[in-house]
């Protein structure tokens, strides 16, 4: 997909990061990587709690509340 809008948004975002110094970028990299791993772990926890065998999981409770 080629979108002028998406490309313009990407260029704008790149221009914003250009205002950071190289040191600030590396610190942002570290922060970003920490958050990404946290998010991945949260997702894994959620998938584990969604196990149908585990009826007490928050996802199971939520699904039950829908019916």
């Amino acid at each position: 997909m080629k979108s002028k809008l998406a490309t313009a948004a990407k260029i704008e975002l790149l221009a914003i990061t250009q205002r950071l110094t190289a040191e600030e970028r590396l610190n942002a990299f570290l922060a970003h990587s920490r958050l990404m791993v946290e998010l991945e772990m949260a997702g894994r926890k959620l998938r584990e709690s969604a196990n149908p065998a585990d009826d007490s999981s928050p996802l199971s409770a939520w699904t039950r509340s829908l019916s």
């Binding site: 970003h32 990587s33 946290e38």
Partner: protein, 189 residues
């Protein structure tokens, strides 16, 4: 060690750099950390660096890492692999640093062109932007192309195109072609 949990491969790299510089080994940070310095900031679960080191010295280096308390894994590339060997350094939090040895096409001058970037109290040597773009185009994966494109978008007009073209040639015809497409698309002449 500086790492306290997962997602801190950049901090593990600082420990790794401490050990390799103490031995006088030249290195340059590449991969996502270099992409963050030269182009768009993005996350990664690992950190990468290329080493200026003879393959024959890799085993001794690995022993030094093990002695210093790191977990390591060394891998050899096939004869047709553009990477001759890789030493993976890990910690107990699954952080990892990939140390690349013998990257085909890499100019030895890439180490002297590396730029100095302060990070967490250490001055890191990060591969220069022309070397970075050429290496990424050579790697050729989807993320590599995105990384190279980001740099050219950001600083296309400031790039040393003569150097970049020469570096691309070292990596082969496919890299030269990819570079010319990128330049034609993005760099304002």
């Amino acid at each position: 060690m500086r790492t306290r949990g997962p997602g801190e491969s950049a901090l593990l790299l600082l420990d790794v750099v401490g050990l390799i510089t103490a031995q006088g080994i030249e290195y340059a940070v590449v991969g996502a950390m270099a992409a963050s310095v030269h182009g768009a900031v993005r996350a990664s679960v690992d950190a990468d660096a290329v080493l200026s080191l003879a393959i024959s010295r890799l085993r001794a280096l690995e022993r030094d890492f093990v002695t210093a308390g790191f977990h390591t894994e060394s891998r050899r590339g096939d004869p047709d692999d553009p990477i001759a060997a890789m030493l993976v350094v890990k910690d107990e939090h699954s952080n990892r640093v990939d140390l690349i040895v013998g990257l085909r096409g890499l100019e030895v001058e890439a180490f002297s062109r590396a730029i100095h970037v302060p990070f967490q109290g250490v001055t890191l040597r990060v591969v220069g932007r022309e070397d970075f773009v050429a290496m990424k185009l050579f790697a050729g994966g989807p993320q590599d192309i995105v990384d190279a494109t980001s740099v050219v978008r950001l600083v296309g007009n400031e790039l040393d195109l003569e150097l970049l073209r020469r570096l691309a040639q070292r990596y082969g015809r496919t890299t030269v072609k990819a570079l010319e497409i990128l330049i034609a698309e993005i760099v304002v002449k």
